[in-house]
């Protein structure tokens, strides 16, 4: 069996709270990053508040949320985070991902991390499907998720107002058997 935390460009890792705090504080100063990742108004939090939030997350029951940091394989740089929030009853999970370091945008690092978390969802957590959401103005993310195998499942019309324009919310999903077919793995 291979190491499921390790991909082609990145690995899933865990950080000390102070390391993750510094990284998040830096990433959140980039409003473009924030607005691609989230629908909340961009806002700057103190390191203290970010640290409290991260420590609280780390205490979460791992059955409620599985969280990882993303590190590059070639220089072990911390570039982002990815997580899974399972609904164990229906064996579905929400995935969230963010690449905070701009130099790593559009180069396949996020896609590789997404492949790892999806593989984790199906091979380790034994889920039946995974779900994610994104803003329609995040074309790079859409393309990346399509590459991993996610299918468009819904468009929430004009659920976002950004820069005075209405844009859509997009839902995507990937079923276990679709993913297995893509891997060439027998069910």
């Amino acid at each position: 069996m291979k190491d499921i935390y390790r991909g082609k460009l990145v690995r899933l890792a865990v950080e000390a709270p102070e390391v993750m705090t510094k990284a998040h504080a830096r990433w959140e100063r980039d409003t473009e990053f924030h607005r691609l990742a989230d629908g909340d108004p961009a806002q700057l939090w103190s390191e203290k508040k970010i640290r409290e939030w991260i420590e609280k997350e780390m205490e979460d029951d791992p059955l409620r949320a599985l969280r990882f940091s993303i590190r590059t394989l070639n220089d072990d740089k911390l570039i982002g985070f990815v997580g899974l929030r399972p609904d164990w009853i229906h064996a579905d999970a929400w995935i969230g991902i963010g690449i905070g370091e701009r130099e790593y945008w559009g180069k396949g690092y996020g896609t590789d991390a997404m492949r790892l978390i999806v593989q984790y969802a199906f091979l380790e957590a034994n889920l039946r499907r995974v779900t994610l959401g994104l803003h329609s103005y995040n074309a790079r993310a859409l393309k990346s998720y399509e590459k991993v195998g996610f299918k468009l499942e819904g468009v929430l019309r004009s659920d976002t107002l950004r820069e005075g324009r209405r844009t859509d919310g997009i839902y995507m999903g990937l079923l276990r058997e679709e993913w297995q077919a893509l891997q060439g793995v027998a069910a």
């Binding site: 629908g39 909340d40 108004p41 609904d87 009853i89 229906h90 064996a91 579905d92 039946r128 499907r129 779900t131 299918k151 499942e153 819904g154 468009v155 929430l156 019309r157 004009s158 659920d159 976002t160 107002l161 209405r166 839902y171 999903g173 079923l175």
Partner: protein, 189 residues
Amino acid sequence: MKDILKGQWVKLAATDPEEASKSFVRWQSDSEFKRLLDSGAVGLNSTKAIKEFIEKESDQAGTNLFWFVIRSLEDDRLLGDVLLDVGRWNMREGFVGIGLGDRDFWGKGYGTEAMQLILQFAFTEVNLRRVSLNVFEYNPRAIRSYEKVGFQHEGRLRGALLREGRRWDMLFMGILREEWTARYLTTSI
């Protein structure tokens, strides 16, 4: 100005934790109702736990959450509840949830009217731009009711639900302010 919380058959009223907890305890014992209402595993909670939950939720009221009970106009009977959750004020979007616990009132238009009232509240009082909801494929009565009210189908998470050994889709529906206005108002707002 007319009473926007009052329709022909039902009205939206304040939640009294004492009264509502008794009704909720009775309604939850109907597993069909619970499974139509939400995707959690059916379970029975004590009156105390339910009352505490209602009190906690009521404390949030008026900021992000607008929560009403539904009462019949004819005999003031408590039929169910409906809520509007404004998750993100910056997007002016709300999410609605509705449940009619009393089976005698299913399929007779009471829920549809309560939904019309909460939409009127959402668009003319809270001034939202859009309202959304989700509903389970195995609840065709609700889907039909939401369609009647004017919700559009926006998406379906394929096989997101596992009930009784088979997969069902989770459906997303939404209505925009201008769609609501065109349907329910003669003057534009």
